[in-house]
Symmetry: C2
Subunit: 291 residues, 2 copies
DNA sequence: CAAATAGTGTCTCTAAGACAATATCAC
DNA sequence: GTGATATTGTCTTAGAGACACTATTTG
């Protein structure tokens, strides 16, 4: 085993010949210059998920749901005019969570319901501006909040419907659509460690930086969290029907579930209230709360 | 929705009055000074896990296993003479994974079998030297490799047996022991998001920085990964008996499993070879490989 | 043969999936 | 009444846990 001398502390004044036997911590810190060694810029990138309910033709039928994420069109180089994840630089006196919260609130115009770290991206070549590492987050935003703020077709921030399919040999296709705009990236599953799957980008599909890989990682984590109902409730208001909750899980995981079985499994995670929906054109449903 | 102007790019020359209509990416990048805005120091901290088999009194009995982690005694301020996780500062042209690999190889003297990110720690006050954020990793190191390198009781790097119990109301006790040295930290489970549980430190137990919380987070992630056999194989040589594999899972998760049931469940993850153990004082066992 | 681990067979119980049947509302 | 969703019941099957039993080695 090597000695702890292997752990050099960047920035401590060298060659000053400090030979005091009893150097105090205060002395040490007052001499310490942390800026002496190179430091990277640190950013956060946020994959903000929302479930949009589509307009409906038949007054009786439930509306279909689509999973979507927020993208921002870059106004400056590099990747000028490409779509990118919202995010920004970490400031002193804030945690990476604070930073992500601040950035997504600014860009989406609404407060996220939850914010979950999904990984650090630190490939040396990932940003042409220089040494920039990024902490990625998955965030869940409720449709109600977004609807209040409204949108603008000319805005440079838009919600893209997302679809992500993994085929047999580990290749995945990520498709993002907003109106006429369609971005299609190709990724390869690289490794899955400790519940986090990472991806190699084969085609970026016009997304800026390594954002296609970040999106794939975040969606994979979201799906994993949806399996045990962990990430479902944040998409809905406080009171919800079991069918609405089921549709959230089906939308995220891209599966179909039989209502009877879903109700049985989810019953451990919810509490019923004495309220009901009304005016839906069919039997009213009991509203539930998260347990 | 706010405009993308919210996403300022730190370091782009301001006030230069660049009014060109067609600024090229090359022009932009050549003017770009990434060092203009404050940047944190970035470190990695590694929770290196090893399973130690204890010496045995009875020639027939299997040896008991203990889960242990590597700690390093700090030679300098701050936290001088406290035990800390191995780790160090991120360098340009390396990923955080590269950095963790480099640091743990230096400090443990052996190559880790695996390296898995468990989270970023970025509390502004976490390091008295200044603005330092850290990416934590869990690493698995095989006992065979460590035994080859050997140890030294006077060394400042030592393997501590670890025990971690969560009681009913969310309080957890972390105990680390090496010879006469016993560190005992108290933590409170704070939140569990996306499969990552984070902890508040109530008593650091003499561990440096926020390392008690990092250790608790890493161990929780390791245990989660052990549930589906993901992190078990890295503790063992390429060929192993099913009993050895079972003991790894029992040691990590601190549980007891009936051999018959373990064998049935694990059979999907292993392939049998035609080799057997010998000279163990009892019936020889077939060796298996990971599937 | 004694003591220890290696390995198999099987019973029970629980949970998941499939599906049938009934309930209730707006129009 | 029609057409949609809401809700409950139950049959079947797969898997986990418990446990009894047999096999094989060294000293």
């Amino acid at each position: 085993m090597s000695s702890a001398a292997g752990r050099k502390h960047a920035g401590f004044g060298n060659g000053k010949g400090n030979t005091m036997k009893k150097q105090t911590e205060k002395d040490y810190l007052s001499q310490y210059d942390i800026g002496k060694y190179p430091r990277p810029s640190v950013t956060t990138d946020i994959v903000a998920f929302m479930i949009r309910s589509e307009e409906n033709e038949n007054y009786k039928m439930d509306s279909a749901n689509k999973l979507s994420i927020l993208l921002v069109k870059r106004a400056v180089h590099p990747f000028k005019d490409c779509w990118a994840l919202p995010g920004g630089f970490l400031k002193p006196d804030e945690t990476v969570e604070d930073c992500a919260f601040r950035e997504i609130t600014e860009e989406a115009g609404v407060t996220p319901v939850s914010l979950m770290p999904v990984g650090v991206f630190s490939d040396p070549g990932r940003d042409p501006r220089g040494w920039v590492i990024s902490q990625a987050f998955a965030s869940i935003i409720s449709e109600d909040a977004v609807r209040l703020v409204g949108g603008d077709d000319a805005s440079d921030a838009q919600w893209f419907d997302i679809s992500f399919e993994r085929d047999a040999d580990g290749k995945s296709i990520l498709v993002l659509e907003y109106g006429e705009t369609k971005l299609q990236a190709v990724l390869r599953e690289e490794s899955s460690r400790f519940g986090r799957t990472s991806f190699l980008i084969e085609e970026s599909g016009g997304l800026a930086f390594d954002h296609a890989g970040i999106i794939a990682t975040a969606l994979t984590a979201l799906r994993e969290g949806a399996r045990n109902y962990e990430t479902l409730f944040d998409f809905l208001p406080e009171r919800f029907t079991l069918t609405a909750l089921q549709k959230v899980q089906e939308t995220i995981m891209n599966i179909q579930i039989l209502p009877a079985n879903f109700r049985r499994k989810v019953s451990d995670y919810v509490v019923e209230t004495d309220e009901y929906t009304q005016g839906a054109g069919h039997r009213p449903a009991k509203l539930y709360r998260r347990k």
